[in-house]
Every structure is written in C-alpha cells, then in structure tokens.
C-alpha cells in the first residue's frame, strides 16, 4: 500500500503520542492533564508566620506556591480516599473537614522545611510556627468569590527540629 508506506515515517510520533496517553503521568511520559478540564471552583494556599502574617515563601525557599499546592493537593486526595473507604462515599475536596485537612497541611509544611537549604531553614525556624492557609475560590454569576482564608495546619519550631 503506497499510502501506508507514506505514513510510515510518522509512526514514531504516533508511538510517542500513544505511550503518553497510555502511561499518563510516568516520567518521561505525560498526558499533560493540567488545565485539561476547567472547573468553576478551585483554591489556593499561602503560608504565614507566627503572627499569622503572610510570608514570601518563594523568596525564602525558591518554592512556588503552585508547587506547594500540588503537594498539599496530593494529601487532600489521599484524605478523600480514606474518607471514602471509611464512610462509603468520597467527599469533594472542598467538603473535607478541617480535621481531615490538617494532616495533608502539616505534611506539606514539613516537606517545605525538610527540602529547604540551611539558610531557608533558619528563616523558617525564625518565622515559626508556620501556618498553611487554604482559600476556596469560585465563580458566581460571572464574578469571582473568595472565602475567608482558613488556617488548615501549622508547624512549630519543635516539630521542625524532629523533621526528617
């Protein structure tokens, strides 16, 4: 088949595309899921110092809040699974209770501290206890509505000392 022979050089690209779609998130393959499904609600997080004032975490540790949210979100998804296994129905992330959000938030704060360099660690200890705030954000009648920031977890100086 001359047509098939002509398509043959494209087989490499088709193979890579199929592997990406089948293996999804397994490096180096990815199906690029981000922003593949826009929802009318999401959330963001920020960190605070002992006084409850925001701290510029990107300047301090080099970590962008988007990345910190991904760590926290992985924990929330696990909390959903746990709640689903316990109560038979998985709650939506925004319906998780403050108690259910605490462990993912504290794990996130611990990860931030553990992965920081010595200078950043010193700055984080000086700012302790660190707080993680969660803000739900949604669209209502073409307008953006934000909830009051909710302090979902904290990490004290003593807990930093015993961090991994």
């Amino acid at each position: 088949m001359p047509i098939l022979r002509q398509i043959a050089p494209l087989s490499g690209g088709i193979l890579i595309a199929l592997l990406c779609l089948l293996l999804k998130e397994n490096f180096p393959f990815t199906h690029y899921p981000m922003y593949s499904n826009f929802e009318d609600q999401t959330y963001y997080v920020w960190l605070s110092d002992g006084e409850g004032e925001p701290i510029p975490i990107q300047n301090t540790t080099g970590l962008r809040l988007g990345r910190i949210k991904k760590i926290y979100n992985t924990g929330l998804l696990e909390a959903r699974e746990l709640a689903g296994a316990k109560f038979g129905k998985k709650p939506r992330k925004r319906d998780l209770s403050p108690a259910q959000r605490r462990a993912p938030a504290e794990e996130t704060l611990r990860w931030i501290y553990d992965s920081a360099n010595p200078r950043a660690k010193a700055a984080l200890r000086a700012a302790a206890p660190l707080g993680l705030y969660h803000v739900d954000i949604r669209i209502e009648k073409n307008r953006v509505i934000e909830t009051t920031p909710l302090r979902v977890g904290e990490l004290g100086a003593e807990e930093m000392e015993v961090s991994r």
């Binding site: 690209g13 180096p28 499904n37 925001p54 760590i71």
Partner: protein, 313 residues
C-alpha cells in the same frame, strides 16, 4: 483524490539537513539538557510518591554523598561529546537514562512538574534513531539505506521534531477526554485560574500590589465567547501541530505561533514552558538555516542598478 493525498503525505518525510545545522542544534540542545538538571538541593533523599521507573527502582541513591555531583560532571562530559556528534550510540543512551532517573526522582515527591518531559522525549527519539542505525548496520552488515540526499541527521531532526509535536497533539486529546468534551464550553472559567495565579504570585513574593480585582480575569469572565475564541485558537494550533512536519516554512510558522501562545499563557497565568519554547526554537524555528538562506539569496541577487548620471539623463 488518492493521488492528492499521496502527494500531500509525501512531504511528511525526513529531508536533507546540513551538517552545520545539526551541529548548532546539538550544541544548543546539549546546553538545554544540562540546564534541566536540578541543583543538588533538589535531589531529594525520599521518593514519597514514586513516579515512572521509581516504582521499580529506588532512585534515592542519587542523594547519597557525592553521587549527584559526580553524575552531573559525567553528564557534562557526555553532553560535550554529544554536541561534537561523536559516539552518539554510546553517549545518547547514557544521557537519556541519567536524565530520566534524575527527573523521575524530582517528580516522585508528591507533585508532578511538567516542564521537562519534552526534553527527555526528544532524547528518547534521538536515541532510538541512532540505535536503529547501529542495529541495522550490525544485523545487515551494511549501512542503513539512505536516498534523496538524506543522512542519519535527517532522521535525527525529523524524529526530534515529531517528539515535540506529538506532545501538543496529546495535550488536545487530554483536553477532550478529561473534560468529557466540555473543554471548549467551560474554557472561559480560565478567568478563575487567572485570579488564582495572581494570588499565587502575590503570596509567593509579597512584591506585587495586594490581591484585588484582576482586570484580565474580569474581561474573560464577562466575555466568555471571546475567551473561548482565544483559547480555541491555541487548541487548534496544538491539534494541527503535525502540519509543522510539512516543510521548513510550516515548521517556522507553527513554532513561532506556538511560542506566542506560550508567552500569552505565561503573561496571563504565570505558567512557563521555557524548555518547550527552547526546543521549538532549536528544532523547528531553526533560525541559523533562515539566516544563511537570506544571506545567500541577498548575495546571489543581481546588483542594484547604478544611480542615474548626467549622461543617462
């Protein structure tokens, strides 16, 4: 009809490429690969959420004393050899495996970074090309048959381009699949994510003005159809990405359009795909080719007519 299709498809083939073009591409790509290596502080000694090969191999050995600095030096040496074009069947598999291990450990911390998959996939495509040529030679006892002025470099470039392009097409399939076909209808919700990006920017650095109204988001939410049109154009570009393989002109047009689209998303949402842009520039824009072409054409052009003199008049 069939004949037309055959003629159209005949363009989607590796085409001759000059050795100096390939040299420039390899040098630039080697620099990009090196740039994607994380600094030592980002080589974690845990893999809490294993990803890819981390499901089967404990990659935390990379965090042991001295391992990563030594590997980084070895990578630099291998990339220098790669850039020179020698020993590709030896150095490319090493670079690929090391790159995948390092970035897999990075991605095994409970979140997935999507910035460098394209780099690894281009390395994979290039490795497969050089190994195919090597295996063919070993098995058939003769070089891989090349016609029409093609070289191994032709395949090297063609499959690198294809690795880049296939990722854009995959991204479209994911949009349709994950949104149950609702992506276009819901795309104006991007306004909400623009606000979120603005908040992330503010709370990350506390440099910008405090959170408040975000005009771009307001305009997007107030004009859903205009927003759908803008984002739809980007998705159409991704969907038709394979047309970039039609020829050098198509590759230039597609890659420049894609870079503009990446820049627009970066401005709106602070989502950066620096390495994707770099690969578009290296393998699809291929500026050195166009510069040389323009230079040669300007030299080959007939000299401009002499200015009129008094005698002519």
């Amino acid at each position: 009809m069939i004949e037309r299709l055959r003629k159209f498809l005949s363009h989607f083939h590796p085409r001759p490429v000059a050795a100096w073009e390939l040299l420039i591409m390899r040098v630039l790509f080697a620099l990009v690969v090196y740039k994607t290596l994380p600094n030592a502080g980002q080589i974690y000694d845990t893999q809490t959420s294993p990803n890819g090969i981390a499901h089967f191999v404990d990659l935390t050995f990379l965090a042991a004393d001295g391992v990563y600095p030594a590997l980084k030096i070895a990578m630099a040496a291998a990339l220098a050899i790669y850039a020179s074009g020698f020993l590709l069947p030896l150095v490319l598999p090493f670079i690929l495996i090391a790159h995948v291990m390092i970035r897999t450990l990075f991605n095994s911390q409970g979140w997935i970074h999507h910035g460098v998959q394209m780099v690894s996939l281009v390395l994979l495509a290039q490795t497969l090309v050089v190994l195919t040529f090597l295996v063919y030679r070993l098995l058939k006892k003769r070089p891989f048959p090349l016609t029409g002025g093609r070289s191994m470099g032709s395949y090297f470039l063609f499959y690198s381009q294809m690795a880049i392009i296939s990722i854009y097409v995959v991204s479209v399939v994911s949009k349709v699949d994950r949104s149950d076909g609702q992506w276009f209808a819901k795309s104006h919700y991007i306004g909400l994510h623009v606000v979120k990006a603005e908040r992330d920017r503010y709370y990350g650095k506390l440099h910008d003005p405090p959170p408040g109204d975000v005009p771009a988001a307001r305009i997007m939410l107030a004009n859903p159809n205009l927003t759908r049109l803008f984002l739809g154009a980007g998705v159409l570009l991704e969907l038709l990405a394979f047309l970039a393989l039609y020829g050098r002109g198509a590759a230039l047009a597609f890659s420049l359009s894609m870079i503009v689209f990446h820049r627009s998303i970066a401005a709106l949402m602070s989502i950066y795909f620096h390495f994707n842009e770099m690969l578009l520039v290296i393998f699809l824009v291929n500026a050195p080719y166009w510069i040389v072409l323009i230079f040669r054409k300007s030299r080959a052009a007939p000299p401009p007519p002499a200015p009129a003199t008094a005698l002519d008049i």
